[in-house]
Symmetry: C2
Subunit: 363 residues, 2 copies
């Protein structure tokens, strides 16, 4: 008897076949030849200046409002170092939210308040109720194709969010690594466009080119960026300029739009295949139906926990993540995230069928 292929639904990694390998090989060589004196040397903790300028133009911002780092997660850690070293350590997150951010917030002793996430963004009544009780330093939010839920915040809620941020004096940390990967529908304005003075917007090239170079960036108010740069310099002196220069050359050569189109063509059918398989094999699961990104999610039937399903799934070579890891305040026992980008439509169909079988046997 042959062992069935392992299907991994645990990590939100991009598809290896999506990487623009040859274009990046050319870009890296070009970058070192053209900018070797700069990108092989120590430099500014704000990152490679031509890349800051390119990103500023792309995002309709000023270069002085852009700081490039080694991935965006570490910038969140710098912000925690800056903003949570006081007695006031309350922060808001969506429930569910990105598990690695929860880990960082806990490391810095944050008092985390979870705002339930709905299919069109945070529950605004719950947010307003929480604001009557707490004064958060910031609200960490993933408005586009949320990780892990797959929800996208509506335009109306975005406007309410920035109004509340202004009224109550908290920052919005807008994490938007998936924003460019919209497979259908129209984009809503990002929070930063609506209130540049109250928003730190993060993004990275991890989902567009590849995570290995480690290139995240933040767009935000200059006074905060200066403090982040000081923290960054104390931590790593200079960010990875070889990566900054290589990605810059890739972008300068005009390769990014075609790369994003390639990703959409690769990933949209994977999302469709997952939804089709769920409709066929697990019609009662009512998954989120995202318009882009890396993830959809569903709630397991009453009485069936992700923990139980995980254990049985492992026996049939199906790897699932524990839903509770995405909830900072408890809950999530029946929450299941399905990352669909790094699996082929065929693998996704097999994985969902296997999942349905395990769920039935667990119920």
């Amino acid at each position: 008897m042959s062992v069935p292929e392992t299907i991994i639904f645990t990590r939100g990694v991009p598809a290896t076949e999506s990487f623009p390998t040859e274009d990046m090989a050319i870009a890296a060589q070009e970058a070192i030849r053209a900018h070797g004196d700069t990108i092989l040397q120590y430099g500014s903790a704000f990152g490679f200046q031509p890349l800051r300028e390119w990103l500023a133009k792309w995002h309709d911002a000023d270069a002085e409002n852009v700081l490039c780092s080694n991935g965006s997660l570490q910038i969140i850690e710098f912000i925690c170092t800056l903003l949570l070293q006081t007695n006031s350590r309350t922060v808001f997150v969506e429930a569910p939210t990105y598990d690695r951010t929860i880990t960082i917030l806990r490391k810095y002793g944050a008092e985390i308040v979870s705002i339930p996430l709905q299919s069109d963004g945070p529950d605004m009544a719950a947010l307003e109720a929480a604001l009557r009780k707490h004064r958060p330093r910031f609200f960490y939010i993933i408005p586009d194709f949320q990780n892990p839920a797959g929800a996208t915040c509506s335009g109306e809620k975005r406007r309410q969010l920035v109004a509340l941020a202004r009224e109550h004096g908290f920052l919005l940390l807008e994490d938007s690594p998936y924003r460019e990967l919209r497979y259908r529908g129209e984009a809503q304005p990002c929070l930063r466009e609506l209130a540049p003075e109250k928003v730190m917007q993060f993004s990275s090239f991890s989902k567009l080119i590849g995570p290995g170079p480690r290139l995240g960036y933040v767009i935000g108010p200059q006074n905060l960026l200066k403090e982040i740069a000081r923290e960054a310099e104390n931590n790593y002196i200079t960010p990875g300029l070889l990566a900054h220069g290589s990605v810059y050359e890739f972008c300068r050569a005009g390769k990014l739009p075609a790369q994003i189109e390639k990703l959409k063509k690769l990933y949209a059918p994977r999302l469709e295949a997952t939804l089709t398989a769920l409709d066929e094999y697990l019609p009662e699961s009512e998954p989120t139906r995202p318009d882009g990104g890396f993830f959809l999610s569903l709630t397991l039937p009453e009485g069936v926990t992700t923990m139980d399903v995980r254990a049985r799934a492992a026996e049939v070579n199906l790897q699932l993540a524990d839903g509770r890891g995405f909830f900072a305040d408890g809950g999530g026992e029946r929450f299941l995230r399905l990352p669909f980008c790094a699996l082929t439509p065929q693998q996704l169909q097999v994985g969902v069928a296997r999942l349905a079988d395990v769920v039935r046997r667990t119920a």
Copy 2:
């Protein structure tokens, strides 16, 4: 009247003309073509496996005892996260020592005890006296061509250090980025070779290839490396694999030995030019006379502080670092570090002559 050229004696940066630009351009392209699936993707927090194996071979260690990061400074921060989150936060450093390490130690609330540095390494009587009063978590030490002093630890003191580490149960953090840059004389064994179970040895390619890629590494006991990898993953998920791969290809192609020889040929005359100029213009300064590395240091005449000299030096376009920044427990008012690698012999002569003039006018 022409403005005199600014001479910068403040930062320990490599000479830009030392970078192996074309070889690195080729290596980066090769790396992405050969290993793109790995180095453009997420990966292990231990770093790019072929690089770990190459480094292990170079340093006569096992690959499982090597962890590669984004520069070595950040690894020191991970170690502080691991070892100083207790009530026992005493650490020993040399006086003077690397100022950026002092900044990190302070960030983690370390109780820093300074052991005076002599021309042949730490003052062992002072170290033994300190060990009668304190139980340090670790002793951070730069045995080869110390930053900022330029001193190198003798073989006898190295053996005493590891004996004391074993007897008193503390770790030695051996920072050795300059070790390969020996311009004369014979190398002493590194501390790790003498006591691999008690030493975490750091190094990087910042002084050998260039700092811009950010590639530092640590060789040490596997149990500690596993904890560092966990901290690293929580901080940046994956280190900069594009840089890891590029440096790996450079090394695999056999380019490193010739590059190190090139650096020695470039830097040794700069050290000589600095010492010759000091003997000529400031014969009373008694500088350290290092056998390699990036720095020498001297003590200004009685009554003359670096602060006073700095202010006057700035007026004649000579930039000097405040000596006190290298002393964690106070002192260093008359200490002056002279980094000589990024200046030409001509600039070094001009700089020392200008320094001598300012010192005379300050005295």
